[in-house]
Amino acid sequence: MMSKRILETVNDIKAGKIRIKELVEKCFENIEKKDSTYNAYISLDKENALKKADELQVMVDSGKDIGILGGIPVAIKDNILVEGIANTCGSKILENFVAPYSATVVEKLKKSGAIIIGKTNMDEFAMGSTTRTSYFGETKNPRNPEYTPGGSSGGSAAALSADMCMISLGSDTGGSIRQPAAFCGLVGLKPTYGMVSRYGLVAYASSFDQIGPMGKSVEDVALTLQAIKGYDSNDSTSQKVAECDYLSGLSKGVKGLKIGVPKEFFTGDLDNDIKLSVINAAKALEDNGAVVEEISISNTEYAVMAYYIIACAQASSNLARFDGVKYGHRSSEYNNLSEMYENTWKEGLGEEVRKRIALGEYVLSSGFYEEHYLKALKIRRLVRDEYERCFEKYDMILSPVTKTSGIKLCEEVDSIKLYMDDLYTVPANLCGYPAISVPFGKSENGLPIGVQIMGPCFSEEKILRTAFLLEQKDGK
């Protein structure tokens, strides 16, 4: 029941073949059975979910419209506010913080009939790519529990992969939706910056952060995007975009589309399995009428460095609000205000978060600002200009999502290496482009592999239908 496609499930609910309460109860049954192993959820909202299921069922029984996601159980990353539920961001400092209002995406999901099941585990304040920096313990990958699900939206990916929800929302600042989607064999979309409201998302790096959906199929992701997209006056970076039906265009195919594959992405320590998957994906697209050509993108390594400088600078500003004064954890060990601030951060924040805040403060400090932060912003323009020129000739870019097909839970990985592994995903955040990770092929050890399709701003329709085609051709 939980592994069915969303559209099919909603139709079955409307036709009376599935009772909504039965679906929601099945979801909680799976959570009870499996989450002690995977640790995908930080908090659950069973009482309200069952109440909502009853309300929606009354609507179905009386012939009323329940919305495009009517009755579908959804998991929300724990940095997206849901009114009345704890919102921890995977951090001790927010352990007891209860959200006073819901994010716009949550309101939109509810209006579409979705049922919020709970909040999912994540790297602390979304700073990480393994979900190991969470104060609430590491999450395991349901595809192989010896591996991490990736991160930072690792809980959202694991919950979905283990049938503990049917759709999930994550946030993507440098690849945090696409990388866990790739590691867990799911589809993950980072929409164009400004297409989905960030109101109610706890900010990490405001000029990169973007909420997006994860699903078991491209169709599920397209349907969820349809529900959550749209202009929001509560988000000053929200964009007014022409209406588009992402579902109806999925089967249009890729005939005539021009796709570039950057040759620089195939050097260095990229796993052979992944290289082969991208080559096979390129062949599948060519066989179906797309024109695929090798292209060159320079400055790729410097793009990652610029990304980290800007992200940490913005994080140091955004996280200054967690000072133990108005909300969140406050140290009890202090004699004056300065000591309270200092001890609150020492006790409330993990090492990775404190490291990134310190780096952010350093690059913004007088004497280092121009050399680091300003320079990084200039590199950001260089990178975007180069991709813009590329998109004058090509409709989209095909690439790997990750360098490897997984990270073992017991594996100690150097943090600089982890940063460099974001090579394929950060350009979409630096430039605001939409990008999708779709499963294509498997590694030697049986783990799923994701390939990435990135397009210019607001090209979601094209990248979704390209991903849809690859989904049909995967394993064939």
């Binding site: 007891n96 913080f97 209860v98 006073p100 209002y101 910056y193 400004g194 000029s207 006056s233 509560n234 000053s236 970076t237 964009q239 400055n299 390594e301 410097y302 460095m305 610029a306 980290y308 400088i309 133990g324 004064v325 108005k326 909300y327 969140g328 954890h329 406050r330 202090y334 004056n336 205000l337 309270m340 490291k355 310190a358 780096l359 350093y362 690059v363 050399e371 680091h372 300003l374 320079k375 990084a376 912003l377 200039k378 590199i379 950001r380 323009r381 260089l382 975007r384 943090s415 600089i416 940063y419 430039c431 605001g432």
Partner: protein, 65 residues
């Protein structure tokens, strides 16, 4: 931390002469100004419930003076 600083220092190798910094991805033509309106909410109760230390109506902070 030292490793991180060493890592980011490598950006000095990139020639950015005459390049303008990219600070905004999209420039919205108008500033969004929502009207002030009084609404019924339990925001005050929520704020006080979330505060680490509070009195009946106030958040308590350490003395600064």
């Amino acid at each position: 931390m030292e490793k991180m600083l060493e890592y980011i220092k490598q950006i000095s190798k990139v020639n950015t002469e005459n390049i303008e910094p990219l600070t905004q991805l999209f420039l919205n033509e108008e500033n969004i100004c929502n009207d002030d309106e009084k609404i019924d909410s339990h925001f005050k109760e929520f704020l006080l419930e979330n505060a680490p230390d509070c009195d009946v109506d106030c958040i308590i902070v350490p003395k600064t003076v």
